[in-house]
């Protein structure tokens, strides 16, 4: 049943139908394109730019740290650093899942590290934004650079770039003052919302305290990358120049600092020294021994070194000048003298009779000198460090008054130095015993405190503040290690210097005769026959100071500590200022503390002399005391023997 039909009509109809169908389809497509190109254009334009341009951070050059005369203490050094660009790695791993493992193996071979360590470094980067290069190794050797560069085709995600690295050219020099830098941690990020994981920040010392000035502002370049991660060309108009950090000038004097540190190292001593300008609180030197090398700390990858440092029994991270807490021993007699004179408990003519021991608050206390000193006034008491005189003074004052005067001289509270982690120490009082110890304060304890023993603990910096107050007539300055900050205006290039202000924290008012009595006493300690600080004497300079020796363990009777094991040996103090002749204005205070060092006069005083000579005499002179002469030593040791602590 074949049906013939009007062929033309049949086809015409269907062709027309098809044409309209196609017109409709084209209109639909044009509409779809309108939606993408007209309505959503902005969204896709953004995506297109994000595709093509990548922000590459240009790290800002960290501000320099210089000493008070401009000597460079911390700068930035170009070092080759290896990073992985994970934006590049991702598509490669997509194509070749084995690529990452191969790359890790390659890096392990080149860097001579176990693969696990390489992987661990890579995994650290999980918290770092993907677009940020992930640092894998620092300070590559030229061989390593060459090995990585020559394989750059195989491992395009690896980048070797010269990156500014913090450099401390003098190693351990002023390490505790300058501190060090390190990668940010969660706490830093919470405080600084502008930082990202992987950024570097000051961790200790000036690097931490002045980080906002030193850090500067990172810039950025915008580079075109293709989908294979190849860098093509820079989009220059978008470039943001980095702003270098401000330079910091310390109050530290390089020469003084160097000599102080050298003294500790050469004599293998543990301890601290602080040199202050009593006129304004500037810290001229602050050394803590042993010191660490901030160059080691400022690296990203130092697990082994870090362990070694942590396990060091001498706690090398501790800045003993502000964090070490010690009994002040006889140097506290300065405080007692001032407190007694201001309070009126004694005057500059008051004398006590020393017979070598005395009964105070119902107990017998000994003077360090068995034979006794006879009649002593305040000047002589300071000179010979007579204990009996200060037992009497302490008894007259009572512990609470001692506490009040000590506190005015920054004891028992932080002196607000511009460094982190300063310790407050402790000055006991009746209230302290009641509130903190939940016990009664015994009057006999006051007698111990009067010669710097008992629960009293202080930092070397606090002793320096106190000594400075004597030197300048009663002012207690806020000590500071930064002299000024040098800002450079990015546009005009103008240099602006912001000085760190001197601030008087408190003042103790001594009547002129009283002040004179204390100063003469301290002058005699060093400059008169029989004084305990003769080792610091410099002709014509009138070095004035006070020695101190602190026994570490309780001893019965008069025992020399030299024969004891190191950790039981006495601590040695020497706190001095110069110039101290009549009519001279003292301009430097030096406090030396030697942990388990033996005696203030023999072990601490020579460093003070060294520093005073360096400052006031010929700077080139090798001002070292002849410690090999046993006669001198013997003489001094006799002057400041440890006082047996009465058992409580």
């Amino acid at each position: 049943m074949r049906v013939y039909r009007d062929d033309q009509k049949f086809l015409q109809f269907r062709i027309n139908a098809l044409i309209w169908g196609i017109v409709a389809a084209f209109l639909f497509l044009a509409g779809s394109f309108w939606f993408v190109q007209g309505v959503q254009a902005e969204k896709y334009r953004g995506l297109s730019e994000a595709n093509a341009l990548r922000e590459i951070e240009i790290p800002a050059s960290r501000g320099l740290i210089r000493d008070r005369n401009g000597k460079m203490l911390a700068d930035n050094e170009a070092a080759y650093s290896l990073s992985v660009d994970r934006m590049v790695l991702k598509p490669i791993v997509k194509r070749d899942p084995q690529h990452k493992a191969k790359m890790f193996q390659f890096l392990a071979d080149v860097l001579s590290l176990p693969v696990a360590e390489v992987e661990a470094r890579y995994d650290r980067g999980k918290v770092i934004p993907l677009a940020k290069p992930l640092a894998m190794a620092e300070e590559l050797t030229m061989q390593q650079v060459a090995a990585i560069q020559s394989n750059s085709v195989l491992y395009p995600a690896l980048n070797v770039l010269p990156v500014p690295r913090r450099n401390y050219p003098y190693g351990t020099m002023a390490a505790h003052v300058m501190g060090f830098i390190g990668e940010v941690n969660e706490k830093d990020l919470a405080q600084h919302p502008d930082l990202q994981q992987g950024d570097l920040i000051g961790k200790r010392g000036v690097e931490l305290m002045y980080d906002n000035y030193l850090r500067g502002k990172d810039g950025a370049e915008y580079w075109e990358y293709d989908s294979h991660g190849r860098r093509l060309s820079e989009y220059v108009p978008a470039r943001k120049q980095p702003l270098a950090g401000d330079n910091v000038y310390l109050t530290i004097d390089f020469e003084l600092q160097r000599r102080a540190e050298q003294y500790f190292v050469e004599n293998e001593m543990v301890g601290a020294t602080v040199a202050l300008d009593p006129r304004n609180g500037e810290v001229l030197a602050m050394a803590s021994s042993p010191a660490y090398n901030p160059n080691v700390y400022s690296k990203r990858f130092t697990p082994d070194v870090y362990k070694t440092i942590q396990s060091n029994p001498f706690k090398i991270e501790l800045n003993r000048a502000i964090q070490g807490l010690y009994s002040p021993g006889s140097v506290f007699k300065n405080v007692m003298a001032m407190a007694g004179l201001i309070d009126g408990a004694i005057d500059h003519q008051t004398t006590f009779h020393c017979t070598g021991s005395g009964v105070f608050s119902g107990r017998r206390f000994r003077c360090w000198k068995k034979e006794g000193h006879g009649d002593v006034d305040v000047q002589r008491a300071l000179k010979v460090s007579c204990d009996i005189f200060f037992y009497n003074t302490g008894q007259r004052l009572g512990v609470d008054k001692i506490h009040d005067y000590a506190q005015r001289l920054t004891f028992g509270e932080i002196s607000q130095v511009d460094l982190d982690g300063e310790k407050a120490g402790l000055v006991p009082s009746v209230a302290w015993a009641r509130d903190k110890q939940k016990r009664k304060w015994y009057p006999s304890e006051t007698i111990s405190v009067a010669i710097g023993q008992g629960p009293l603990i202080v930092t070397p910096l606090q002793v320096a503040n106190m000594t400075a107050a004597i030197a300048n007539g009663g002012k207690v300055f806020r000590p500071h290690v930064v002299r000024f900050i040098e800002k450079k205006d990015a546009k005009s290039g103008k240099i602006q210097r912001l000085k760190v202000a001197s601030k008087v924290l408190s003042e103790v008012k001594l009547a002129p005769p009283a002040l004179e009595a204390v100063r003469r006493g301290l002058w005699k300690v060093v400059n008169e026959q029989g004084g305990t600080g003769g080792n610091a004497r410099i002709e014509g300079l009138g070095v004035s100071g006070k020695t101190g020796t602190v026994q570490v363990i309780a001893q019965r009777g008069w025992v020399k500590s030299d024969s004891l094991p190191f950790k039981f040996r006495d601590h040695a103090w020497f706190a001095a200022y110069a110039p101290g002749e009549v009519g001279q204005i003292p301009s430097m205070v030096v406090v030396v503390f030697v942990e388990h060092g033996g005696h203030g006069g023999s072990d601490a005083a020579p460093l003070a002399k060294l520093l005073f000579e360096s400052r006031f005499r010929d700077k080139d002179m090798s001002a070292r005391l002849d410690l090999s002469n046993p006669e001198t030593l013997e003489q001094i040791k006799e002057g400041d023997l440890p006082l047996p602590k009465s058992s409580r």
Partner: protein, 366 residues
């Protein structure tokens, strides 16, 4: 013997001219897509050669009376089949698909030319079959003509090219004439065959393509990557486009195949919505013009030849343009006359020539 002066004057130069304009646009876009990664411009130069050869072939296929071609169609068809079989046996693997024939440095895809030969064969069949409705035997014959090469291409396996023969089946059914009950039967068969085909015959990568098509932005670096990046390119072009050579998406290699299957995204990025509308209009003009040829053809064979050939163009344009913005899944179907590719360009120029050929000889007494 074949050229007649009057006939030559009847050549529709608007039609051929539109095709040449499209080919020129193609060359410009291929240049935009490749100048950065390939400073030698080898790809563009090759495309210019293909277009030149294609125009030569176009002229040849205009001049030779299509009735003569009907006569030799079985021979051409047989040669094409022979090439496809040769590919299956000895073909070298190119891009996971054995679809290229190498003759020295020259290589081509016989499946592209097979489209023309199959269209010729089918038109020849309909020329002699002028029933209102196809009876079962004729229908099976028509299906066999299409099915034979399609089967060979599917086993290559080149799903995309095989699918591009689908318009011929549609033409056979739509214009050949099929009774309603056969339509119903066909739909039922398809409804049953689809899930079975999905489960047993589709290769994993083919399934993946379809799945990804449903949600291309799921994994931008994964397999929906192409469409995502193409959309970014097109969308970022906006109304006016970024301008000549300013395509960052293509230049930076974010769009794979940006000079072949995804050339349209370069157009969208550089010339914007305006460029898109212009090119779509050119295609639409070409299609409507061809439809007019079909209506006015001298005989049933001519009508079917034009319809078969233009159906390829329609199919390629719609599928390719739609996949650029994710309206349809990504397949390896090039944009007629614009996408880079020797075989495809030449095939479409031949098709243009053949359609003009039919139009030129529309007068019975010519």
């Amino acid at each position: 013997m074949i050229i007649r002066e009057r006939a030559l004057r009847g050549v529709d130069f608007n039609f051929i001219g539109t095709a040449i304009i499209l080919a020129m646009i193609g060359i410009v876009l291929i240049y935009s897509a490749t100048w950065f990664s390939e400073p030698s411009l080898a790809t563009v130069k090759r495309q210019i050669i293909w277009v030149a050869i294609g125009l030569g072939l176009l002229t040849l296929f205009v001049i030779v009376d299509y009735h003569v071609l009907f006569d030799v169609a079985p021979i051409l068809y047989a040669i094409g089949i022979a090439f496809l079989i040769y590919l299956l046996v000895w073909g070298k693997v190119t891009a996971n698909v054995n679809s290229w024939i190498h003759i020295g440095a020259f290589r081509f895809q016989p499946s592209e030319f097979m489209k023309v030969f199959t269209a010729l064969m089918l038109a020849r069949f309909f020329d002699s079959n002028d029933h209102a409705y196809l009876d079962f035997r004729s229908f099976m014959k028509a299906m066999a003509i299409i099915g034979f090469p399609v089967g060979l291409i599917i086993v290559q396996p080149d799903f995309g090219t095989a699918a591009s023969f689908f318009p011929l089946i549609a033409v056979a059914m739509f214009f050949g004439g099929i009774r309603p009950r056969v339509w119903v039967a066909m739909i039922l068969i398809v409804a049953i065959a689809l899930p079975i085909g999905w489960a047993f015959f589709l290769k994993p990568y083919q399934k993946e393509r379809i799945v990804i098509f449903l949600n291309p932005e799921r994994d931008p670096l994964g397999d929906g990557y192409q469409v995502t990046q193409a959309k970014i390119a097109i969308g970022s072009g906006g109304i006016h486009g970024k301008g000549f050579r300013q395509s960052t998406q293509a230049r930076l290699d974010f769009i794979p195949e940006h000079h072949t299957d995804f050339i349209f995204s370069v157009l969208g990025e550089e010339w914007g919505f305006i460029g898109v509308v212009i090119v779509l209009s050119l295609y639409l003009f070409l299609i409507i013009q061809a439809m007019t040829f079909a209506k006015h053809a001298r005989d049933r064979g001519g009508t079917f030849l034009v319809i078969c050939l233009i159906s390829f163009v329609i199919f390629h344009v719609l599928i390719n343009v739609a996949m650029q913005i994710g309206v349809l899944p990504t397949t390896g179907i090039p944009l007629p006359l614009i996408s880079y590719g020797g075989s495809s360009t030449m095939m479409f120029l031949i098709a243009i020539g053949l359609m003009a050929n039919v139009d030129m000889r529309r007068f019975v007494n010519a």
